[in-house]
């Protein structure tokens, strides 16, 4: 079945701009804030947010890329083994305002893992969550975004995919429907 487009390129561009303005509203010049992209796909969103913030004249943005594989709660519970990505955290998070950035918020388990993982770098002053897409009604844990791109209702088994084309802002959000086997 052909995937359905949920958010067009134009809409994603507008959403990203809005999210950046919301970030600026709360974080000012970002001097005490760190943006943290979730590996692997949240990092692509992080790159776009940083690019847009720089266009808004925010010069010094501290950021990191966090992989939560070793902190996940489904280790040994899946047929497919977990595959870790690299972590790049060059900033101390102690006393800082942290913003987690991910593309799709689904069960909330990755974010729960990230909350444990970030503790290994110190105690942040606060932690917020920014997502491009929130899949409502699919949460396993009481985790909600602070900055939200769009809310999408998709049934269990459907897959929401955020596809970034390389080198430019182009981004599409697809819905791939569940295939009955």
């Amino acid at each position: 079945m052909k995937p359905k487009i949920l958010l067009s390129e134009k809409k994603v561009t507008a959403i990203l701009k809005r999210l950046c303005h919301q970030l600026i509203e709360r974080h000012g010049d970002f001097s005490n804030s760190i943006l943290i992209g979730m590996q692997p796909r949240g990092v692509l969103l992080l790159d776009q947010i940083i690019r847009l913030l720089k266009e808004e004249d925010i010069r010094e943005i501290k950021y990191g890329k966090l992989d939560v594989t070793f902190f996940r709660d489904d280790f040994r519970r899946k047929e497919k083994p977990l595959n870790a990505n690299s972590t790049e955290m060059n900033e101390m998070v102690e006393g800082k305002k942290v913003v987690f950035i991910d593309d799709v918020l689904f069960t909330g388990r990755s974010i729960r893992s990230a909350l444990t993982a970030i503790d290994t770098y110190g105690r942040p002053k606060s932690i917020e969550l920014l997502v491009l897409v929130d899949r409502r009604f699919s949460r396993h844990l009481p985790i909600q975004p602070d900055y939200l791109g769009a809310q999408i209702d998709a049934i269990q088994g459907d897959r929401v995919r955020v596809v970034w084309s390389k080198g430019s802002i182009k981004c599409l959000v697809y819905l791939e429907e569940k295939i009955n086997e």
Binding site: D67, T69, F70, F71, R72, F75, R76, R77, P81, L82, N83, A84, N85, S86, T87, M89, T116, A117, D119, T120, Y121, G122
Partner: protein, 312 residues
């Protein structure tokens, strides 16, 4: 690939090149973790690991225990001196009793070659890690040696690596040969003829007893300890003579045309195979090996642990 091809780590001989690459990749991620302010991850919190050391060990035992604790596993330790082995209990009985306590993984060091292999046939849904079996293999040491070399020299394909010292009694040598050959390195052994095992050249290595020639040839040299405890006869006249012909000191290094990397798996016999000056110089990566050892062992335990089924 993100899964090992084996359920146990018994020796490098049983691994594929993909396994080595996966272990190195995972170890790099753990190396980042052990440099964080809080060096612990919760991955293996529901796994229990028994460290059975039927032979003395400092580095390997501490390194395994640290790796296990950094992965949040529960750890129990047994050393031969304080156990019922001295009352005549067999290896199988000891292990069966330990397994009855619901242990998921066993790290074993044993003076008899093949002990880990033997155990792996006796257990079910439990991973065995060989931490050295007699003069046979010491896979985790070879993996950390190769990892440290790659960090220092880059891809080992075509690199010239020498192994110097007591090859005959060394499990590190055999595991190193397997690992280095698999990674495409050229390996040359250097030792008194009495300390070179028969037919070792069938593993694709060359042999020489000319230290200066070998040091000038190689990019890195792995210096092995003379294992006096395993020598029931005299393989060379005296430590002094060994040192004169096969020991590395400051003067030896000064005579070389280039700077070489020196590894040593420890423990060092200072003044026998290597002088104190050299051991503490910037040629050596001995302490890098120790640091990488924890990361490599975390990777091995994590990857094997991911294959253990959850018991209901």
């Amino acid at each position: 690939m993100n899964k090992l091809t084996v359920p146990h780590l018994l020796g490098i001989k049983y691994l594929q090149i993909e396994d080595l690459k996966l272990i190195f990749k995972t170890a790099s991620q753990f190396k980042e973790i052990i440099n964080r302010p809080i060096k612990k991850v919760p991955s293996l919190r529901d796994i229990t690991i028994a460290n059975l050391f039927f032979e003395n060990s400092t580095r390997t035992k501490l390194s395994f225990e640290l790796a296990e604790k950094r992965l949040s596993a529960d750890v129990i330790n047994m050393s031969v001196g304080q156990s019922s082995i001295s009352k005549g209990e067999t290896l199988t009985d000891t292990v069966k009793n330990i397994l009855a306590m619901k242990v998921d993984m066993i790290v074993i060091r044993h003076p008899h070659p093949g002990a880990a292999h033997f155990l792996s046939n006796q257990v079910n849904n439990c991973s065995i890690i060989n931490a050295g079996d007699g003069t046979h293999e010491h896979p985790s040491q070879a993996l950390l040696d190769a990892y440290s070399l790659i960090e220092k020299l880059g891809n080992l394909k075509g690199k010239k690596i020498a192994i110097l010292g007591d090859i005959l009694h060394s499990r590190v040598a055999l595991s190193n040969i397997y690992a280095l050959k698999m990674l495409g390195a050229n390996v040359k052994l250097c030792a008194p003829k009495s300390l070179i095992p028969k037919n070792i050249d069938s593993l694709g290595v060359t042999i020489s007893d000319d230290l200066m020639y070998v040091l000038n040839w190689c990019d890195a040299v792995n210096v092995l300890r003379v294992q006096n405890e395993r020598m029931d006869i005299n393989y060379f006249p005296s430590n002094r003579e060994y040192n004169q012909n096969f020991g590395i000191n400051k003067q030896t290094l000064e005579k070389l045309r280039k700077k070489i990397v020196i590894l040593h798996p420890g423990p060092i016999n200072r003044g026998v195979e290597i002088s104190s000056e050299v051991a503490d110089s910037d040629n050596t990566i001995i302490l890098d090996q120790v640091e990488n050892g924890v990361a490599i062992r975390m990777a091995i335990i994590f990857l094997l642990g991911s294959q253990i089924k959850i018991s209901a």
